[in-house]
């Protein structure tokens, strides 16, 4: 921050990507530690950001710390580039870092996301930054941080397995559909942020670096490239992802995550790709679904 007088009140200008360099250094150290201990939640001195807690302050700080002038940034929320919060965060970095932005997954070098992993396979020169509301996978089983840190230290994950088992006993299958817990590099159980479990397999052995930022809870964690990420399950109840009965109504894609769109009040609905870039690219390539133009 620096101030210069332009009549009336002093004008306020900010550093590249908003945060000062000391703060970025502190965040980078936390990121390096997180990469060194995959899946471990590293406490960091999260700053107050000019957007509300719970709206991506952790992801924004991680992005600000890794962003360089030559980077090309993509921001998605619910898989889409045009959702309001994605637009606001992209606008924030356009304004404070003046970096190039894109909606194309392949063109981006840094992708900040909320709730999805892009359908297009990521590369090793890309970083995926997740916004995380509650980083602690055990939080809803044990509300106390003092307790959960100890459970992680002892790799004592019995609670989580009991929870999943109780799901099966009660419903016949595991009733967790998003933020589905994973084990990283055979050690830490990690919350993948509220992505649908459909996206979980994409985290495994990904060539891209995956960084997770939780601003309000002041935690950073990471999955280094080509790390084993296993969704928790049981031998007789193996992990399964959601499957959609129909292909995307716009681009005809099968095996992509779909959003349900209600068309009228008579039960009319359609299913379309949640990843807008993926869907648009396919349509440009000539793929058509049943309702595509």
């Amino acid at each position: 921050m620096s101030a210069s007088d332009v009549g009336g009140m002093p004008q306020i200008t900010y550093n590249f990507a908003y945060l000062d360099e000391q703060t970025k250094r502190m965040i980078r150290r936390a990121i390096l530690k997180a990469i060194a201990v995959p899946g471990y939640q590293v406490p960091f001195a999260a700053r107050e950001m000019p957007m509300p807690y719970g709206w991506g302050t952790g992801g924004v700080q991680v992005t600000a710390a890794v962003l360089g002038r030559d980077d090309v940034l993509k921001v998605i929320d619910q898989g889409a580039d045009d959702t309001t919060n994605a637009v606001a965060i992209r606008g924030f970095f356009e304004k404070t870092a003046r970096v190039a932005t894109t909606t194309s997954t392949t063109e981006a070098t840094v992708i900040q996301t909320r709730h999805r992993i892009p359908e297009t396979k990521l590369r090793e020169d890309q970083i995926l930054v997740y916004q995380v509301p509650i980083p602690e996978p055990l939080r809803f089983l044990e509300p106390r941080e003092t307790e959960t840190r100890q459970l992680h230290a002892l790799a004592e994950y019995g609670l989580m397995h009991v929870k999943l088992y109780e799901d099966i006993a009660r419903h016949g299958h595991i009733a967790t559909t998003y933020a589905y817990p994973v084990e990283v590099a055979g050690r830490y159980v990690m919350d993948p942020s509220p992505i649908p479990k459909f996206d979980n397999p994409k985290m495994d052995d990904s060539p891209a670096l995956q960084l997770f930022g939780a601003g309000r809870e002041k935690r950073i964690y990471a999955i280094p490239p080509h790390t084993k990420v296993r969704s928790l399950d049981f031998e007789d109840h193996p992990f399964k992802v959601q499957r959609f009965a129909k292909p995307c109504a716009l681009c005809g894609a099968t095996g992509a995550y779909l959003d349900e769109v209600i068309l009228d009040d008579k039960g009319g609905r359609m299913f379309v790709c949640s990843d807008t870039d993926f869907c648009n690219t396919r349509q440009e390539e000539g793929h058509r679904g049943e309702m595509g133009a």
Partner: protein
């Protein structure tokens, strides 16, 4: 053909333009000046400075104006600005016994050195709407204003006179626990390092000092209603101006950076004593920027409740639960996370929808099977 709803960018721009218009209100009326906010909405500005953790009257007034009077939003604006400011050092601890006192009351002694000074307070006013205030420029001389009521507002002394704190007076007899000695260590800074529980005193006080007034009020109130009762007395509340002293390492001497207004509350509480300590009074402490008495008192009550372990008391109530109390008292964090529920969640909802449909289908099949 279906076209998915687009235009988030344009919608945001338009919404913000509309917000700016609503903030300004009727353009035939003059815009409120920051000086007017600072001079006439002082307590709003004080609260924004206190919970925003930044003592700057002009910026806090600007925040109140920009936030359309929404104080949590104003606090948020101040916090987001504060976070970008570089730190060039720590001031010397404020010496509140050398305060230019504008108000000072003790509920434990009828009279005491330095006397009782009511100062500007709502206490003992009759809470009757004063329609004279609504009368515009010349009407703003209220029934209880010094001019109308013939009161004598007296003179504020030009310089602070040393006024011992009540706790220091009781302390001489050893009746009350002493303030912990300054060990010279640099205090933990909750804005520069992540908090780990359990916390030390500095962390606890910092967190409470910027905590939400309403939240602390409710928790403090709960201790009075029997949830971790601590038999509190207001040893003293004082409000006034305190000098901020900074020692410049390069110069090797102290300089005054100016004064800040603070409210300090020393709550005196009963303590039965323990094996090592004879019966004595214990303390809860509250210190807040500006004139924020309700907050300072609430803070003192909650601070005392949180000290149960150190005093060998039993834990029985929410106000004593350190991790619970401290991790939820920041209103900027709380409002952000609560309000983030407005953000789209349709990916996760879709996953849940799918699960519920599947479970309903299974349920239906089971019912049919049972009927057959």
């Amino acid at each position: 053909m279906y076209v998915a709803a687009k235009g988030g960018e344009k919608a945001i721009r338009n919404a913000h333009a509309l917000l700016a218009k609503r903030r300004r209100g009727n353009e035939n009326l003059p815009s409120i000046g920051l000086d007017q906010i600072a001079a006439q909405l002082t307590l709003a500005v004080d609260r924004v400075m206190a919970e925003g953790s930044l003592y700057d009257i002009e910026l806090a007034s600007l925040a109140v104006k920009q936030a359309r009077g929404d104080l949590i939003e104003a606090i948020f604006l101040i916090r987001a600005f504060r976070t970008t400011l570089p730190r060039f050092g720590n001031a010397q601890p404020l010496d509140t016994s050398r305060m230019l006192v504008r108000r000072r009351v003790s509920a434990t002694f009828k009279d005491l050195p330095g006397g009782q000074l009511l100062g500007p307070t709502f206490d003992y006013t009759h809470r009757l709407l004063d329609t004279a205030l609504g009368g515009g420029e010349n009407g703003d001389i209220s029934g209880d204003s010094p001019v109308a009521s013939g009161g004598d507002i007296g003179d504020i002394p030009a310089a602070p006179v040393a006024m011992p704190r009540v706790t220091d007076l009781l302390g001489q007899e050893g009746l009350i626990e002493a303030s912990p000695a300054d060990d010279g260590a640099e205090p933990f800074d909750i804005t520069r390092a992540p908090v780990a529980y359990p916390v030390d005193r500095a962390t606890r006080l910092q967190t409470l000092a910027r905590g939400d007034e309403g939240y602390l009020l409710a928790l403090g109130y709960s201790t009075q209603r029997g949830y971790a009762r601590s038999h509190p007395f207001v040893g003293e509340i004082r409000f006034g101006d305190v000098e901020v002293i900074f020692e410049v390492p390069e110069l090797g001497f102290e300089v005054s950076l100016g004064t800040v207004q603070v409210t300090e509350c020393q709550m005196v509480n009963q303590f039965k004593g323990s094996a090592e300590v004879p019966p004595q009074f214990t303390r809860g402490y509250g210190l807040v920027f500006g004139q924020c008495e309700r907050k300072a008192m609430s803070m003192a009550l909650v601070e005392r409740a949180l000290r149960w372990k150190e005093l060998g008391e039993e834990q029985s109530a929410p106000a004593q639960d350190e991790e619970f109390v401290l991790s939820h008292c920041d209103n900027v964090q709380a409002t952000g996370f609560v309000e983030h529920l407005k953000l789209p969640h349709y990916v996760d909802f879709q996953a849940e929808l799918d699960l519920v449909r599947r479970m309903r289908a299974e349920h239906e099949a089971e019912m049919k099977e049972a009927a057959e």
